[in-house]
């Protein structure tokens, strides 16, 4: 504060008082903000919304509540990867893309798309 700063500067000796209001400089935008869920300051219990990563005490309890395209199946993660065998297919055998979950498969083309490709896009403007 200006007045007390003046007083302070004028004080020739000892017990100086530091004003508590001080201009802290130009506004700066934080370059990094921690967005990990923290309890709301006015929450009476300090708990987080359940289902939030931080409220789980173990990975297993997180998996119980986790959602990814619907609830995650616990069975998918309860066997260690080593026990599932090699990732590479044995010699002479192949992965079939159409047996993978739907989201990994090829999307079929519509007739309009086929036509657009075959005409080099000209059909779209015809």
């Amino acid at each position: 504060m200006f007045a007390t700063r003046v007083l302070r500067q004028a004080a020739a000796h000892g017990a100086e008082r530091t004003p508590m209001i001080r201009f802290i400089g130009k506004r700066s935008v934080p370059s990094q903000v921690d967005h990990s869920p923290q309890p709301h300051p006015a929450s009476p219990t300090g708990s987080l919304p359940s289902g939030n990563g931080n409220s789980h005490t173990s990975f297993s309890s997180y998996r119980d509540a986790a959602q990814q395209h619907g609830p995650l199946r616990k069975s998918i993660g309860n066997t260690s990867a080593a026990k599932l065998g090699p990732v590479e297919p044995p010699r002479g055998m192949y992965w079939d893309r159409n047996e993978l979950p739907e989201r990994f498969r090829r999307s079929p083309l519509t007739l309009a798309e086929i036509e657009a490709i075959e005409t080099g896009g000209a059909a779209m403007f015809g």
Binding site: M20, P37, S47, P49, D96, L100
Partner: protein
């Protein structure tokens, strides 16, 4: 498990497909569908509720360049605050105070008035005019900031979709990248007394009584009860306040200030039954009867009144919102559980205002609205929950911010106090309005302001200075060395600050 996915190239796949243990993924929208345009425009932000929290968030979002929709079912923006809360009550408080002053406080001011009559209908009309003007003003601000306004009742259909039952009939749905719940609160009912808003009323009914009741009982001596009790007491009702605790004012009000408030309100003609429990109520007779009992046990008595105002608090309002459709949780008091960035467990759904944690105050909701939109747009926001002022608009007004003396005592925090009475303030003297005081609480070593409690004229305006000082971490010396204009009521504020570390000049 992987071995089941290992399939010889030549195998009959269809036979194996039926045995596959791969999870099936169900989606409401077929992933095979390829569209060149989306079906409905996705908004950046959909806000459910057009009260103070919702409308402020909508305007802020519009200003930040977000595509925003606000859904409100009342048909008027502004929520409880503008329609049936802060604003209409302030209109009645101001006009009833003028009426009361003209009746009882003019002769010593050298004003002689003739026949003074109350025209309640006109007073209510003045209230409605203020409300309508302000709510229409928000509609204008919506247009100015490009906010889409839908009049209807919104409910979650899915995590990104809100179905709206339109007030004019029909249904629509809005899709939002982010959704903000701002559905507010409602009066907590009293078990055994059903609201009819005529004889057993909430604050909403108490703002629209058709005539001045002869006798009125207010259950609950908090801010709402005392404000509405004051209005009808000034207009001629015999008002009795029944409060369970031994003190009025509700949580946060400093004990010393609460005692002084009680004394002044009693002087104005209001009666108080503190430490008294309402056991039951009966609305079947000509008057409403209440059985009351000492809270600590003891003698019981029957009170009767033409109107009973139930003002025992408010509770979050999320009924019909379909929280269960998206798995959102509320706590044991019905508040939506959120984190420090207002996120529910679905991080794109946030919640602010009365329906979540913190005090149910319009200005707190406004702060949260701005912060929530900033979190969405910029990634950071700010609300200081330790520095939220409270104001009771009785006469004299009572206002406070920060910690009370009893808070500090309870936590064993050292403090020192400076007070200044308005009876020693020149402006209050000239106004012939000298009841009350400013009480400043500071850290004994650094003089840092810890709390400020004011009872007196204009306390609600004056508390802004204390709030600013507290937010900036000022010392009482900083306040006292800041020049305050003379003659103003604010000089009492400065002198109370001075009294914490030195002595007030005029007292």
């Amino acid at each position: 498990m992987l071995s089941s996915r290992l399939i010889p190239r030549t195998a009959v796949r269809s036979a194996l497909r039926s045995q596959s243990s791969l999870p099936t993924v169900l989606s409401p929208v077929s992933r095979w569908r390829r569209g060149y345009a989306s079906q409905a425009e996705e908004k950046d932000l959909v806000i459910i509720g057009g009260g103070v929290a919702g409308y402020v968030a909508a305007i802020k979002a519009g200003q930040e360049g977000l595509k925003v929709t606000c859904i409100e079912k009342r048909g008027m923006l502004g929520g409880t605050c503008l329609n049936v809360g802060c604003i209409p009550s302030k209109s009645l408080l101001n006009n009833s105070h003028l009426y009361h002053q003209i009746l009882h406080d003019t002769k010593n001011r050298g004003i002689e008035v003739g026949d003074v009559k109350l025209n309640l209908q006109a007073m209510m009309k003045a209230k409605d005019t203020s409300v309508t003007g302000l709510t229409k003003g928000i509609e204008f601000l919506f247009k100015k900031n490009g906010v889409e306004y839908i009049k209807g009742t919104g409910a979650f259909a899915s995590e990104h979709e809100v179905k709206v039952a339109l007030n004019d009939g029909g249904e629509t749905s809005v899709i939002g990248k982010n959704i903000l719940i701002a559905t507010g609160s409602e009066s907590t009912p009293f078990p055994g007394l059903e609201f009819d808003e005529k004889r057993v009323v909430t604050s909403t009914g108490a703002l629209s009584l058709e005539k001045v009741p002869e006798k009125m009982i207010v259950i609950g001596g908090g801010i709402i009860g005392l404000e509405m009790g004051s209005v009808w007491s000034r207009l001629g009702a015999k008002v009795t306040v029944v409060e369970f605790l031994d003190q009025i004012g509700g949580p946060g009000m400093d004990n010393e200030i609460a005692k002084q408030t009680l004394k002044l309100l009693k002087k104005q003609g209001m009666e108080f039954k503190l430490g008294t429990k309402v056991v039951s109520g009966d609305n079947s007779g000509e008057t409403v009867k209440l059985e009351v009992d000492s809270a600590k046990g003891g003698k019981s008595e029957t009170l009767d009144a033409d109107v009973v105002l139930v003002a025992i608090g408010r509770r979050p309002y999320t009924a019909g919102l379909g929280l269960e459709n998206v798995g959102l949780e509320v706590d044991e008091r019905g508040r939506v559980v959120i984190d420090s960035e207002y996120r529910t467990k679905a991080s794109h759904i946030r919640c602010i205002g009365d329906c979540t944690f913190g005090p149910m105050l319009a200005h707190k909701a406004e702060e949260e609205a701005v912060a929530a939109v900033e979190y969405i747009k910029k990634g950071y926001g700010h609300v200081n929950y330790g520095v939220i002022p409270s104001v009771m608009y009785t006469h004299p007004e009572v206002a406070w911010v920060g910690q009370s003396e009893q808070d500090l005592k309870k936590d064993n925090i050292p403090y020192k106090i400076g007070t200044f009475p308005f009876s020693a303030n020149s402006r209050a003297k000239t106004n012939l309005d000298t009841e009350g005081m400013v009480k400043m609480i500071a850290d004994p070593e650094t003089d840092r302001l810890l709390g400020c409690h004011i009872i007196g004229p204009n306390a609600g305006e004056m508390i802004a200075e204390a709030t600013l000082a507290l937010e900036y971490g000022a010392s009482t010396e900083d306040i006292a060395r800041t020049c305050h204009a003379h003659p103003t009521l604010a000089e009492a504020f400065k002198e109370a600050a001075m009294a914490t570390y030195s002595k007030a000049i005029h007292y």
